[in-house]
């Protein structure tokens, strides 16, 4: 109910405005040319209703042109792509349509220890790293960044990470610039939400999308010991 309390200022504001507007609207038309007054008022009203009707049509067109996101159908589709993506990565099936290679880094490893460091750990930003150990890599480390192959919608794509070698050539530093996205959610009005399970200020986060999809795939020579810092999760492949 705290949500309800937060809207009390809005209600008070609305009451004040409404009372003022209604007293103004109720006041008599001025003595001079009230005929024009009343006619003008009536035509303004007509104009208002026409604008409202037109905006209904406009919105319908915009919605169909720009596509629908957040719809159940679309969500299911995204979920399916999500599954296919992880499955493909796990099976090293990098040519699958759900996988898109973005960048590839190669480094020369000295010794048999590799330290992976997340430079973003203070910000609570984590990395998901797949590590594959391969026999015929001669002291090479290959890091590849993959993302989901789901079109151009930028809200699905975070900034790509920056991966660098530190001076000792045994520590791989990963950094990512957090991406800020401003989203306008074209929500349904409350009286509709009431019967779609969303209620007043209900679980609106449910509109958030599965964007936790940056995957860094690292190939290292077999026998290398991989150590990690916090906020960096490793899945060993094979």
């Amino acid at each position: 109910m705290t949500a309800l309390l937060t809207i009390i200022p809005i209600i008070v504001l609305a009451i004040v405005f409404t009372v003022v507007i209604i007293t103004v609207a109720k006041s008599k038309p001025p003595a001079q040319k009230p005929k024009k007054m009343v006619q003008r008022r009536k035509s303004i009203l007509k104009g208002y209703f026409i604008i409202l009707l037109v905006s209904g049509v406009v919105y319908g067109m915009l919605q169909s042109n720009w596509g629908v996101i957040g719809d159940e159908e679309v969500n299911n589709e995204l979920e399916q792509i999500d599954q296919e993506f992880y499955e493909a990565i796990n099976n090293q099936n990098f040519n699958h349509e759900s996988v898109k290679e973005v960048q590839n880094w190669q480094f020369k490893l000295e010794g048999d220890e590799l330290m992976l460091t997340n430079l973003n750990q203070g910000e609570g930003l984590s990395f998901m790293v797949y590590v594959e150990k391969i026999d015929d890599l001669e002291g090479e480390v290959v890091a590849t960044y993959y993302m989901k192959g789901i079109g151009e919608e930028k809200i699905y794509h975070p900034n790509k990470p920056v991966i660098t070698w530190d001076g000792t050539e045994s520590e791989l530093m990963m950094k990512q610039h957090r991406k800020e996205v401003k989203l306008h959610v074209m929500s349904k009005e409350f009286p509709i939400r009431q019967f779609t399970g969303e209620r007043w200020f209900g679980e609106r986060q449910s509109h958030t999308f599965n964007v936790h999809n940056q995957i860094v795939y690292i190939q290292v020579p077999r026998g290398t010991v991989v150590e990690t810092s916090d906020f960096l999760y490793i899945y060993e492949v094979n």
């Binding site: 008599k28 038309p29 003595a31 009230p34 005929k35 009343v38």
Partner: protein, 297 residues
Amino acid sequence: MGIVICDNVSKSFKKNRAIKNLSCTFQENRITGLIGRNGAGKTTLLKTIAGRWRPNEGVVKVFDEDPYDNLKVSANMICVNDELVFSPELTLDEILKSGEMFYSNWDMEIAEGLFDYFELNPNLYHDQLSKGKLSTFNMIVGLASRCPLTIFDEPTTGMDYSVRQDFYRALLKDYINHPRTIILSSHLLNELEDILEDIVLIDKGEICLHESMNDLKEYAIRITGKREDIEPFIVEENILHKKKLEFNLESLVVKNEFSKEEIEQMKQRGIQILNVDAADLSMFLTGQSKGGIDDVF
């Protein structure tokens, strides 16, 4: 047949009694004048008849029904006063059309004819009208609605003389063509006495006279002569108004209860006998004291 019957009706506001134990009957298809001074209780009586409120005591019957909150009475009665509130957004023309919608007897031809005659602009709004034009418009609504019971409460407020004469004539002509019960309240009797059939005089919330207009004109006479000549003929209670003149002369208004012989005798003694104007008579009947304002000096 009594269209409106008031039996022992009292109505008070806060502590102020507007009408007291008032009984009267308004006959069907007559024009009755309700005459009284300002504050005599005319408006209170008319609003009670119109069913705007319930009397504190007594019974009011209109068309044999209690008018309060009564749809049948409302549909067959219109009460025109200067408090009529119409929509501020409707032109006069549109108000007339609304009237036509509500009242089944509505006569749009009369309404339009009167509109033209009084040069009212049908495109104006009600609250734009001057006091006189407002009364004219309200009067047109009252006439055109052609209700079996039509009440005009001080309908001529703000009208100038010629418009008042036109209104009385219009009222009479429409009444002749479509007889109905009309109650007309006014403090100006002399202008409308000819068109009235009955008159009800009201003073301080009480009825002091209910007569036909013709009887009212013979109700009293004015006798002027020397006091000692007059005195033998006069009964004290019958004196309505007394005025002392120079040379021991007196001018009395008395109830006309004299026989033909008495009148003859008075004439022979040189006593002057005149009729009393109905308007003057109503003033004397509703007056505070028998001498009028002269008593003060």
